[in-house]
Symmetry: C2
Subunit: 217 residues, 2 copies
Amino acid sequence: MKQLFPMVMADVALFIVLNQQLCVLLVERSNAPQAGRWAFPGGILKPDTDHNLDDTARRVLLEKTRVDVPYLEQVATFSGPDRDPRGWSVSTLYYALLPHDRAPAVAGHKTEAVAWCNAQKPEHRLAFDHDLLLKAAVGKLRDKIERNALPLHLLPEKFTLTELQQTCEAILGHGLDKSVFRRHLKDDSRLVPLPGEFLLGSQRPAQLYRSAPGFRF
Amino acid sequence: MKQLFPMVMADVALFIVLNQQLCVLLVERSNAPQAGRWAFPGGILKPDTDHNLDDTARRVLLEKTRVDVPYLEQVATFSGPDRDPRGWSVSTLYYALLPHDRAPAVAGHKTEAVAWCNAQKPEHRLAFDHDLLLKAAVGKLRDKIERNALPLHLLPEKFTLTELQQTCEAILGHGLDKSVFRRHLKDDSRLVPLPGEFLLGSQRPAQLYRSAPGFRF
DNA sequence: TCAATAGTGTCTCTTAGACAATATTGA
DNA sequence: TCAATATTGTCTAAGAGACACTATTGA
């Protein structure tokens, strides 16, 4: 017998940049269906407690990984009778960004393994239609960077322009010219230089910046 | 008592350009809730017959307006317990484009009035949160035009470059330079000039074009 | 001093934007 | 011929891209 209502869920692609590579958080499914494959953290809408699907997304991410994220954005909604063997499903995909210094904060459920996986070429076999979802999420993220958005939520509180550039490069998948990159950030109000604060090393010190108050993406 | 499952629906913003104005199709609600207000054509997912939400969107548009559209694209998904007084709802918004010479093809249900309404500043009071949805749909459409997409699905089969430019201007809400506009279309494979076919009038004839085979947006 | 990276400058080439000039029709 | 619109050209300024140069540290 056919079901009357579809499953309604939210999935989250949580991005991070590790070792100059754009990575995404995946959870190994421990139960059927598709046990052993890797999927985005996701879960079913709870109409009693969720105020909208954004809430659902934030909640499932918190439940599955213990991470609360500052920024969450809708990518698209996927639907159909066959994408999940349990039946007709509608799942709205979100993406979120995590600063690389918070990577250790991510913890799996007792029974589930989690892993940071190369977002451009995942080394795990994905469950359901999540390869499609991943493409969509990466595409949307790239789009924003190409349109001059700054992925500051991927960076720690204080960062240098070089780190920012490397983060953009990891997302775009190709190098950027240092001079051009910095020219664009001239007088950009989204960036605030921290007076007198520098990143030191065996080279010329690098000015540290933080994101402007109220910055959202 | 709370409901266990949300309503799952698709809404469609069907755009057209009439008299150089971007317009959207609205349906006057004849029944509660919100009778008398105007809303996008929309309807509830039928898991038995719809293969996905795109299907739902196409079907409800056909049912409500008798129009089958060549192009349909997802905008975003809106959700929450209060946006529809009937309870927790999830609705995925699509937009579609209709050539202006097909405006008369649109017909309402027996009991419902339909109207083309100014998309930038609607003259009707919208139902539910559809003012939000309208903003999102117009925004997405503008975005695509700004990124050099051609809204050929808003034009009749044969059209001139001037008509194409005016269509873009209607979407963007501001004028474009004729010379610049045409420069961009130089050697654009999306446009095919029709050899020897011109639009005549009391002026220099204008070359007619059609969209390239397989053109999608 | 040197290696390493930060940060700036310069040159060229492409393009956007504004506007002018020319072309072709019907009245 | 004129009015109207199509179509093309030209000039200028801004920006992108490539690359070189200078600056400042620790070793």
